[in-house]
C-alpha cells in the first residue's frame, strides 16, 4: 500500500521538522530541558522514517543510542547545571544572523543534492533490506577502511574525554 506509507512519510517528516524547529526556537518555553525533550521527539520521528525505509536496524539503533543514551546524558548535564541564567538570556542578534546564514547554506546544499538525485526504483533501493547481516557485510567488506577510521576517531575522543575529566592525572 504505497499511499498508506506515503501518508506516514509526510506525517513523520512534518513532525520531524516541527520538533526540530521547536528544539531550536520554542515560543512557549526557553527551558533547555524542553528543548532537549523536543530533540528526543525529533530523533524518534527520524527513527520512524528509517522504519518506513525498512531500515529496522538503523531505526532501533537510532532510538537505542541517540534517544536512549546520548540524550539522557544531555538531560543529565542540563539538569545538574544551573540554567536559570540561560532561561533569561536575551537572543544575540549576531548569533541569530550567523545561525540563519549557516541554516540557509545547509538548506541550499540539501536542495541541490535533492535536485541532483536520480530517483531509484523501489526494488533497487532495498539492497540492505533491513537485514542486519547485509548491513554488517556492507560495513566490514566494502567500507572497512572508513569504518575503522571512525572507530579510531571514537577511541581517541573517548580517551580525550577521560583525560579531561581526570584533572589530577596531569
Amino acid at each position: 500500500m504505497p499511499q498508506f506509507t506515503d501518508l506516514f512519510f509526510y506525517a513523520l517528516a512534518g513532525l520531524t521538522l516541527l520538533f526540530g524547529f521547536l528544539t531550536v526556537l520554542n515560543p512557549l518555553s526557553r527551558s533547555p530541558v524542553t528543548s532537549a525533550m523536543f530533540l528526543v521527539l525529533t530523533i524518534l520521528c527520524m527513527a520512524g522514517l528509517f522504519v518506513l525505509l525498512h531500515a529496522f536496524f538503523l531505526a532501533a539503533v537510532q532510538i537505542l543510542v541517540y534517544a536512549g543514551a546520548v540524550m539522557v546524558v544531555f538531560l543529565f548535564v542540563i539538569m545538574l547545571l544551573d540554567l536559570k541564567a540561560d532561561e533569561r538570556r536575551h537572543i544575540n542578534k549576531i548569533a541569530v544572523g550567523l545561525g540563519g546564514l549557516s541554516a540557509l547554506a545547509i538548506a541550499g546544499t540539501l536542495v541541490a543534492s535533492i535536485v541532483k538525485t536520480v530517483p531509484v526504483s523501489q526494488t533497487a533501493g532495498r539492497l540492505a533490506e533491513g537485514e542486519t547481516k547485509a548491513l554488517g557485510r556492507l560495513l566490514f567488506e566494502s567500507h572497512i577502511l572508513p569504518f575503522e577510521i571512525l572507530s579510531v576517531l571514537l577511541l581517541v575522543a573517548m580517551v580525550g574525554a577521560i583525560l579531561i575529566t581526570k584533572k589530577d592525572l596531569r
Partner: protein
C-alpha cells in the same frame, strides 16, 4: 467464525493484531496486579507474616469453602488496591513543573508495555503466530524501547522540583544507562550463535540446539543481574532507597500517578522475565518432549505452549521477589563498580570467546 476467512489478508492481520494486543494488554495488566499481590504474599511468608487476607467482596458469602480460602490468599486484594489508587486524592504540589510532572508517569508505563509487543509468548494458535509483531530486529527494538523508560524517571525527578526525587532520578538514570550497556553486550553472543535478531528465530534455535542458558551461562548471569538493576529492584533499588531518599523519584507523587510508577515497575519486571525466558530458557518450548518443542499442531497444544511460557515467566517473577529479601542494598559506588568494571569487561570477553569458538568450530 467462518466470516473471518472471507476478509482480505490486511483486514485479517489488523483484526488479529488488535485482538492479540487487547488480550496481551489485559493479561499484562492483570499480571501486574497479581505480581503485586504475589510480592506482598511471598514477602510476608518470608518474614513469618500472613500478608493480605482480609479483602472479601460481598459475593464471597455464597461460596462455601473456596470463598474463605480465596480471601485468605488475598485474591481480591489487587482490586481493592486498584480502587484505592483511583479514589485517593490526586495531590499536585504547587512548586512542581506541571507538564513534566504529569508526563513522567505516562512515559514510565508506555515503554514497559511496548516491550511486550515483540515477545513470542506461544508458538501459534491455528495459523496465527503468538507474537504481536514478529520483527526481525526484535531484540534491538526491545532495548531501544527499554532505554526510553529512563525518561520517565528523569522527568519525574526534574518535574517534582524537589531534592529527594531529583537525587533519586539522577541515581536511577546513571544506573540504568550503565547497566543497559552490560545488558546489551551480554546478549550479543546469542546473536552470534543464532545468527538472527528475531526472537522467534532464537526460540527455534533453542528448540533445536538446547537452551541458551546452558551455552551462555555467563551471559545469562549478567543479563539477570542487569535486569535487576534496570527494574530498580533490590539489591539495586538505590533510586528509591527509602532510608536515604524517602521515596526517590516518586516522593511527590500520589494516587493514580503514583500507581502508574508502580505499574511501570512491575510491567518492567514482567518484560524482563519474558525476555529472559525467550532468550535463555527456550521461550515456549520444553526439551525432551517433541510435541512441545515443535510449533503447535493443535489449538490445545498452542495453549499449552502459552502456559509453559507463563510458567517460566512466573518462575522469574518469584526470583525477582525472593532476591529482594535475600540481599541487602548495594552501595552506589559498589553498584557502579559492578556494572562498569565487572560486567562490561566480562560481557566483552564473552563476545570475543564466543566469536572465536564459532569461527574455529563452525567452519
Amino acid at each position: 467464525m467462518e466470516a473471518i476467512n472471507y476478509l482480505n489478508p490486511t483486514a485479517q492481520m489488523i483484526l488479529f493484531s488488535a485482538l492479540k494486543i487487547g488480550v496481551v494488554f489485559g493479561v499484562v495488566m492483570t499480571a501486574v496486579a497479581y505480581a503485586v499481590l504475589v510480592e506482598r504474599k511471598v514477602s510476608a511468608w518470608i518474614q513469618n507474616r500472613v500478608g493480605p487476607n482480609r479483602t472479601s467482596p460481598f459475593f464471597i458469602d455464597y461460596l462455601p469453602v473456596i470463598g474463605p480460602f480465596l480471601v485468605k490468599l488475598g485474591i481480591f486484594q489487587p482490586a481493592a488496591d486498584g480502587l484505592k489508587f483511583l479514589l485517593k486524592e490526586d495531590f499536585t504540589p504547587n512548586y512542581v513543573r506541571k507538564v513534566y510532572f504529569w508526563l513522567a508517569p505516562a512515559i514510565t508505563v508506555i515503554p514497559a508495555l511496548l516491550t511486550v509487543a515483540v515477545i513470542p509468548f506461544g508458538s501459534n494458535l491455528g495459523s496465527e503466530k503468538m507474537v504481536i509483531a514478529d520483527l526481525n530486529v526484535g531484540i534491538l527494538y526491545t532495548f531501544g524501547i527499554v532505554s526510553l523508560g529512563v525518561y520517565g524517571i528523569v522527568l519525574a525527578g526534574y518535574g517534582s522540583n524537589s531534592k529527594y526525587p531529583f537525587l533519586g532520578s539522577i541515581r536511577s538514570t546513571a544506573q540504568m544507562i550503565s547497566y543497559e550497556i552490560a545488558m546489551g553486550m551480554s546478549v550479543i553472543p546469542i546473536f552470534i550463535l543464532t545468527e538472527s535478531l528475531n526472537l522467534s528465530d532464537i526460540i527455534r534455535y533453542q528448540a533445536e540446539h538446547g537452551w541458551m542458558i546452558l551455552k551462555q551461562p555467563l551471559a545469562f548471569v549478567i543479563f539477570l543481574i542487569a535486569s535487576f538493576a534496570e527494574t530498580n529492584r533490590l539489591p539495586f533499588d538505590l533510586p528509591e532507597s527509602e532510608s536515604e531518599l524517602v521515596g526517590g523519584y516518586h516522593t511527590e507523587y500520589s494516587s493514580m500517578k503514583f500507581a502508574l510508577f508502580f505499574l511501570g515497575e512491575y510491567a518492567n519486571m514482567i518484560a524482563s522475565a519474558a525476555m529472559m525466558v525467550t532468550l535463555f530458557l527456550g521461550g515456549w518450548t520444553m526439551p525432551f518432549i517433541d510435541a512441545l518443542n515443535l510449533p503447535a499442531s493443535s489449538l490445545l497444544l498452542g495453549f499449552v505452549h502459552i502456559g509453559v511460557f507463563f510458567a517460566k515467566m512466573a518462575f522469574f517473577m518469584i526470583v525477582f521477589i525472593w532476591v529482594r529479601w535475600m540481599l541487602p542494598r548495594f552501595r552506589y559506588d559498589q553498584l557502579m563498580d559492578l556494572g562498569w568494571r565487572r560486567f562490561i569487561p566480562l560481557a566483552l570477553a564473552n563476545i570475543v570467546v564466543t566469536a572465536l569458538v564459532v569461527a574455529l568450530f563452525n567452519n
